[in-house]
Symmetry: C2
Subunit: 357 residues, 2 copies
């Protein structure tokens, strides 16, 4: 049977410690050249809406050791509204019942069969959290106790959960531009973590004196600047545009998630896709060659060092997500779903065939 | 509701003339830079079987004009046995009930929603047939009456159906190495086409004097050679290794399906993947630069000419399939399935989400 799982199922099944462990093992496989990761691609065309584009995003990964392959697909109606000085990428919930379309398809690498189909949203934020959590594990000071976080949205929660799973955190301060959002988020995370999260009214107030500065926004502009840096600080980012280029140049060590730092863009002729533009987002670090930087998988297997001393400034830049992460997290979710009898079971024959295609 | 369709549904719904028309329109969009096609990728790792590899293949396409995007996925256990002097790529039906895993996911480019999920096998052969049928339409002599076909397998049938849909064919000869197979195939196709298909015992006997020579094999070695060529012949191939390089050099006009003539290969370190090797298959035409050749979409919109005179030798090389074709064919299948109430309906909510991922 092929399992159809919901975001609620994924949220119940995939704990942060399990996701951290699965990703760490998967990155080892990747670093040793056994696991494989197919770079994200964005296929983008116009829609009949003037302000929106259609984006079909896909990324694949296979981890033979875990017996799985995964394809993650996003089928999005995307707009780029301005919020104050910052432009954001905002998806429109245009599917029936005002919903978004993002899927993970999990396959067996031993039989080829489709094991499970599930939405990507909850897994997406847990795996982003876990990747940056591994960044913190290898790059923050061993005695790091305080976090300043910029952002209070969808990704911010798992950033904190993951960091708190790898360090003994005592203090967390949070800034995001909307006061109501940051206060609500701080109250919720205080409850979840059992550590007080204090909302503050400027980015500087959040990161000043923090051992770990985490960016968790949906901006396509810079939000973390060189003058925020302090000796011994570890800076973590979930997407390339967040950190200004001088921060990268100033840091003692910079580790990226992947050297394939840019998705493959396949767009209709003449389309201006904001986050792929030269002057915005990706372009803000155009002069930095990410293809030569050490990666998280390399750091995990000891091919590079995350931190050399307590005084160093270190940066982990989760510059681009990998379908590979969904294979690792998906393997955990599938195993537990089978054990616990969770999900809708559909005949696997519906998703397989008797012809040799 | 999201439709789950079977190969039988696709076979009943998608006629060759409809597929030819949908692809022709889709290729026009592609040639005009409005439709987009993301090149196939093959992510390949070892399995626990010594003779087999696991291949997770994906390819995407979006056709705004038809309101659809598609991802085609193959999750295959692959072996490369030798048959006589030729090596073949053979998938192992390792999924439950000895089945293969190949899927097409069809999305709306206006709402993002998943419209349908279906196996790829039947659509795969119809769209390969239709692509080569368009090659025949634009590159064979207008008065072409005879076909010689090399191959009697899964792809061969739709090659004939498509060619017969665009030319008035009177004579068909078929060769494949296995006598029983070619006789069975010839009898079946005679029935289907209402045109006698004659099995013959050598490739030369099949193609000698043929106006249209079609290769429809699963070889990874050359099967069509320069000395088979005759003035006025149109040669059609469904995969790059079939035609020997001298045929390409000798032809007056060569049109390819796509300039992205090679899939993106992402394989575990040290893996030898036969059809990606330098000395086999893809490598046999290594000296020919496919990225500079005119393409089928360009020919359809008149950016190049398929045939200049009745004496010319022309070659259409379907060098690599496109996910884009599945979007075009999928749009036809989905429309007709909705009209006719075909398929299992599942709640679209199962494949969408209320979180902004």
């Amino acid at each position: 049977m092929t399992l159809i799982l919901s975001n609620a199922d994924v949220g119940n099944l995939l704990t942060m410690p399990e996701c951290l462990a699965a990703l760490e093992e998967a990155y080892e496989e990747l670093a040793h050249g056994r696991g494989v990761s197919r770079q994200r691609s964005d296929s983008i065309v116009r829609t009949t809406r003037e302000d929106a584009l259609y984006s079909l995003k896909s990324m694949d990964g296979v981890i033979g050791k875990l017996g799985v392959g995964a394809v993650r697909i996003n089928s999005d109606i995307v707009t780029w509204p301005k919020f104050g000085n910052n432009m954001r990428r905002v998806k429109v919930p245009a599917a029936p019942n005002q919903r978004y379309t993002g899927l993970v398809l999990l396959f067996s690498s031993e039989t080829g069969e489709p094991l499970a189909i599930m939405p990507d949203g909850v897994m997406q934020r847990i795996r982003v959290g876990a990747a940056n959590g591994l960044g913190v594990k290898y790059m923050a000071r061993a005695n790091a106790k305080s976090i300043g976080i910029l952002g209070s949205g969808w990704q911010a929660g798992t950033q904190l959960t993951a960091a708190c799973a790898v360090r003994t955190i005592e203090t967390i301060r949070c800034f995001s531009p909307n006061k109501e959002n940051r206060e609500k988020f701080s109250a919720e995370m205080t409850e979840i973590l059992g550590i007080e999260v204090v909302p503050v009214d400027s980015p500087e107030a959040a990161v000043r004196g923090a051992d770990i500065a985490m960016c968790a926004s949906n901006t396509v502009d810079n939000i973390f600047f060189e003058h925020y840096l302090e000796p011994g600080m570890m800076v973590s980012s979930i997407k390339r545009p967040e950190i200004a280029a001088p921060v990268i140049r100033r840091a003692d060590r910079v580790v990226v998630h992947t050297q394939q730092g840019k998705p493959m863009l396949v767009a209709s002729e003449g389309l201006d896709v904001p986050e792929h533009g030269e002057d915005k987002g990706w372009g803000s670090m155009a002069e930095i060659d990410f293809t030569k930087m050490p990666t998280l998988p390399e750091m995990i297997v000891g091919k590079c060092t995350g931190r050399g001393s307590d005084e160093e400034i270190t940066v982990f830049l989760n510059n681009l997500g990998l379908g590979y992460q969904f294979a690792a997290a998906g393997a955990v979710v599938y195993r537990k779903a089978k054990e616990q009898g969770v999900g809708h079971e559909l005949p696997t024959d519906w998703f397989t065939e008797d012809v040799h295609p």
